[in-house]
């Protein structure tokens, strides 16, 4: 039996209302605050033109997020490649390890990195004891530290979509390329990589968007000098009470992500990226 379209919509209506009320409501409220506090108008947005600080914070955020996305996706690609080509139990073990890393809280990771790579951390003190370095290498409390922490957090998010894309590739395509005289490198660059592109794009989008909101890792591993948008928004909401500025920056993030999705949609079908029906 097939329900007519109308009653199907009725079934999802409560959830649509829930999403509308609990999700869109607050977002609209943020947009509203961004044009009404402290005075009606676009004064908050005009700050982007007049404030070097805001521009620098946005630029830091963009720079760190792009670098983190690139490293996470490259590492994620290699891990996914190894996982796809591993057999049975080995593959499950690898997947298990990957999923376990999702459960480790961001605070625990952050402090583990400090213990490992901090000024008196395991790595620095070992290198020092071996006489390789005379002064500790500054891995942490700077932009490098933020990148290490963020890439470590994001790699599993990059692996999963790429892994899914690789799994759906028919191995015979690769064999066909080889039997027609393609070298290993040619087969990878011209056959394998293009076929995994939806996975790579999905991974990049997911990683980049999650990165934009990072708060704890930059705050702690950056030593206060790597100020990203999320932390700045939190300070404006909680300490300086500049809610208009905070809402404006939140809106900029939102529009930035939407613009990114739009750009992507010009180049490829987003539904294939997110595992929708392939046409």
């Amino acid at each position: 039996m097939r329900l007519p379209l109308k009653s199907g919509w009725l079934l999802v209506l409560p959830f649509l209302l829930l999403v509308g009320g609990l999700f869109l409501g607050p977002i609209l409220n943020v947009l509203w605050i961004s044009v009404t506090e402290p005075a009606p108008g676009f004064g908050n947005y005009a700050q982007l033109g007049s404030s070097d600080t805001l521009r620098r914070i946005l630029w830091t955020t963009l720079r760190v997020c792009v670098m983190c996305t690139a490293f996470s996706v490259i590492l994620g690609y290699s891990i996914a490649y190894a996982m796809v080509h591993a057999t049975g139990p080995a593959q499950s073990r690898m997947l298990g390890l990957l999923l376990i890393s999702f459960w480790i809280s961001v605070l625990v990771r952050t402090f583990s990195w400090l213990m490992l790579l901090g000024r008196n951390g395991v790595v620095n003190s070992t290198l020092d004891a071996l006489g390789i370095i005379s002064a500790p290498i500054p891995f942490m409390r700077n932009e490098l530290g933020v990148l290490i922490g963020m890439v470590h957090y994001m790699v599993p998010y990059a692996v999963l979509p790429i892994f899914a894309a690789m799994q759906s590739i028919d191995g015979r395509v690769v064999q066909a390329s080889r039997s027609l005289g393609g070298s290993g490198a040619q087969t990878f660059w011209r056959i394998y990589l293009p076929m995994t592109k939806p996975g790579v794009v999905a991974a990049s989008l997911v990683v980049f968007i999650i990165n934009l909101g990072f708060y704890v890792i930059p705050a702690v591993l950056g030593g206060g000098k790597v100020l990203m948008v999320a932390e700045y928004i939190s300070v404006q909401v909680l300490i300086t009470l500049q809610w208009g500025t905070a809402a404006m920056l939140a809106a900029i993030l939102l529009f930035g992500v939407l613009a990114l999705m739009f750009l992507m949609s010009r180049f490829m079908k987003l539904s294939t990226v997110f595992g929708g029906a392939r046409t």
Partner: protein, 368 residues
């Protein structure tokens, strides 16, 4: 709070059982429905019962136990009203949001006196009832219309005795002198205290700090930026020191003693030019517990409560009578003891209450 947590745990366990196939879909959905209904009634019940308790909004951890034993126990004994806690941290933005939303669930916030100035002005706080609370049981100038200082914390610095074996640093001028005292330093990243320290290092008299010359302070701070890292919480400040990340680090003064003990005296607290900060109790507008909260604040001013808080958290009493009764061994760590008083600077809550936004944002712009 606990009821809500219980519901959440029940649901989580249900969800796990459902995922593992140990629970039928139908039972799981029924559980979800019941939990939703039950939390609604729990929340309603909480609102009705609110008048029979005082909720303190603080930062949790050790301070919850300490406030309960030092103030809560005596207050409940006197009034029969229990003390409960919300440990999510009463930052200005959260208090403003709570009052604006009309759903006020806290009676008293363990906040800063400059919060009383900032939020009092905008109508987010109840005026204190000075017929119940005693204005004379605090430091001069720290009993304001919308808040009163109950304890003092402060900003001071600690140094590594092994880094500076001949001639340790003794002032903020030494702290900012990276030529004479090489090594990494740490400062508080939300401006407070860091600006005052920089000005004292630059030669401003400790009783002529306010109004703060922000530009002058930032010049001093950016001059040592390459050798500075910045902390956002007391535990972060502490770990920077005990893990050897810094040779000199700013700390919340009340933590200095435990760091000295923990490191067997390797790191030493310098009380000279410490900045005393008035920690204050403020009451959100329309607090559910009503006027009873004033009795609670009065209880916190009593000598036993003040001495207990010092023993438990290291926060210096503000009640002169309690200060006078402090043991000899505790005097060096009490920021307003007779020996320390001539060396320290006193924070001006009015300046900070009116200038926090400008100061914090200028500071963040300079260090990032």
């Amino acid at each position: 709070m606990h009821d809500k947590n219980f519901m959440r745990e029940t649901l989580l366990q249900g969800a796990q059982a459902f995922q593992a196939g140990k629970m039928q879909r139908r039972s799981f959905l029924a559980l979800c429905g019941m939990a939703g209904f039950a939390s609604a009634s729990v929340l309603a019940g909480k609102a009705e019962a609110a008048a029979s308790e005082i909720v303190m909004w603080n930062w949790g951890g050790q301070s919850e136990e300490c406030h309960q034993s030092a103030i809560g126990a005596a207050f409940t004994q006197d009034t029969g009203v229990p003390l409960k806690f919300d440990t999510s941290g009463p930052l200005q933005g959260k208090i403003k949001e709570m009052v604006d939303s009309g759903n006020v669930t806290a009676d008293v916030c363990d906040a800063d006196l400059f919060d009383a100035v900032a939020l009092g002005k905008t109508g987010h706080l109840e005026a204190l009832d000075y017929s119940v609370i005693d204005k004379t049981k605090t430091i001069d100038g720290y009993a304001l219309e919308f808040g009163i200082s109950i304890i003092l914390y402060g900003y001071a610095f600690m140094y590594d005795t092994q880094a500076y074996p001949d001639g340790p640093p003794t002032s903020w001028a030494d702290f900012f002198d990276t030529a004479k005292f090489p090594g990494t330093r740490s400062l508080y990243k939300w401006a407070n205290g860091s600006l005052e320290a920089a000005l004292m290092a630059d030669g401003v008299e400790k009783d002529k700090l306010y109004p703060l010359d922000i530009d002058r302070a930032l010049k001093k701070i950016t001059a040592i930026k390459a050798d500075t890292i910045y902390w956002g919480s007391g535990s972060e400040a502490q770990s920077m020191i005990v893990n050897g990340e810094v040779s000199m680090g700013m700390v919340w003064q009340n933590r200095g003693r435990s760091i000295e003990t923990e490191t067997n005296g390797r790191y030493k607290l310098v009380m000279n030019q410490a900045l005393a900060m008035p920690g204050a109790y403020i009451v959100p507008k329309g607090n559910p517990g009503g006027a009873d909260v004033m009795k609670f604040i009065a209880t916190a001013q009593s000598v036993p409560a003040q001495l207990d808080l010092f023993a438990c958290l290291g926060m210096t009493p503000t009640n002169p009578e309690a200060i006078a009764q402090m043991a000899e061994v505790d005097q060096p760590y009490s920021i307003t003891s007779a020996a320390n008083m001539p060396m320290i600077a006193l924070n001006d809550p009015t300046w900070w209450g009116e200038n926090t936004d400008a100061a914090v944002n200028a500071f963040l712009a300079a260090i990032s």
